[in-house]
């Protein structure tokens, strides 16, 4: 149980992952932990390849706020301001900054976004 103001409150963020079939999976993400790691620890199966914030296989989209307010993606090796402005985040290298709702399986959409902005991305 989480109590307002308790140390636990400050040490984790409540992230709701929304799947393409509208199913929702809540995940508690400890401070400083990557969202993908926490989701996998919770037994969820999500796509990923490089685990270094490059290949965008794990791409997701923040639903409830500007992406840069919800997820810190500084650990990603290739992540652009335009990605954040469009709401995209990379779960493998993204740490939540607050409670948030995130739509997963967004790799195809992020590839389209990168192409539209003439930004590099794997195409396969």
């Amino acid at each position: 149980m989480r109590y307002p103001g308790s140390p636990l409150m400050a040490q984790s963020h409540h992230v709701v992952l929304v799947f393409p079939d509208s199913r929702e999976a809540p995940v508690e993400v400890p401070e400083g932990t990557f969202i993908l790691d926490a989701a996998m620890q919770a037994g969820l199966s999500l796509p990923y390849t490089c685990l270094q914030g490059w290949c965008i296989t794990c791409a997701a989209r923040v639903l409830n706020a500007p992406a840069h307010e919800c997820v810190d993606n500084h650990a990603a090796l290739r992540y652009y301001d335009a990605d954040a402005e469009a709401g995209f985040v990379l779960l493998c290298t993204g740490k939540p900054l607050r409670d948030c709702r995130i739509s997963v399986y967004q790799s195809a959409a992020m590839k389209v976004h990168r192409r539209q902005h003439r930004l590099p991305a794997p195409l396969g």
Binding site: T49, C50, L51, W54, P120, L123, G124
Partner: protein, 206 residues
């Protein structure tokens, strides 16, 4: 009328605009266009890794044992690029005309020389590059298993070597970090870049 069931098919006699080698994959459920794109991303990663490993190897100066092993991985990654690229063309695709486009779409991160490089940092970059390659080729194996034996064979041979590379770098990193031995279980290659799985084919693969 022939009674040989494989003597003809959907591709008309003499038609060079289509490939039976592609048609048969599609009939077995392979999304050939998607597979082709994934192979180009993977080939781009092998090529860029070969390039960046050249720099990393240089900076392992003084660690001659590490340098030799990095050289094996470097040359074998080049062999992987050589090995998979013909398959992309067979599937009706090709690699980008501009090498910048090729590097941009590589499926794994650029293996940059780390800031203030030392052996441990360089070995960490090498290790993570191999791990990305393992995940990539495992995915290609999954996409082709039981449906596209030719691509599967290429991917699985490359995967064999990437798994060995990971084991090498774990062994060296354990030593460098003083964490005690974590043996790879392997001895040295016969020749630099021997690529025992991806270069033992009878066709030309320099």
């Amino acid at each position: 009328m022939t009674n040989k069931p494989h003597a003809s098919g959907r591709v008309p006699v003499g038609d060079i605009s289509q490939r039976v080698g592609v048609e048969q994959l599609e009939l077995r459920g392979v999304d050939v266009a998607a597979l082709r794109e994934k192979l180009i991303d993977a080939a781009g990663a092998e090529f860029t890794t070969y390039y960046y490993y050249t720099i990393l190897r240089m900076w392992l100066a003084g660690n001659e044992d590490y340098k030799e092993i990095c050289e094996d991985a470097r040359l074998e990654d080049r062999a992987h690029f050589e090995f998979v690229t013909p398959r992309i063309y067979e599937l009706g695709g090709g690699i980008p005309r501009d090498i910048r486009d090729f590097a941009d779409r590589a499926g794994c991160p650029d293996a940059y020389l780390p800031d203030n490089p030392n052996a441990e940092k360089i070995l960490t970059v090498l290790l993570e590059a191999e791990r990305c390659a393992i995940r990539t080729w495992s995915e290609v194996c999954d996409l082709t298993f039981g449906k596209d034996p030719r691509t599967y064979d290429i991917a699985s041979r490359i995967l064999q070597e990437e798994v060995e590379h990971e084991a090498w770098f774990i062994e060296l990193l354990a030593k460098e970090r003083g964490e005690g031995p974590r043996p790879s279980g392997h001895f040295r290659r016969g020749e630099p870049g021997e690529a025992p799985y991806s270069k033992n084919h009878p066709f030309y693969n320099p």
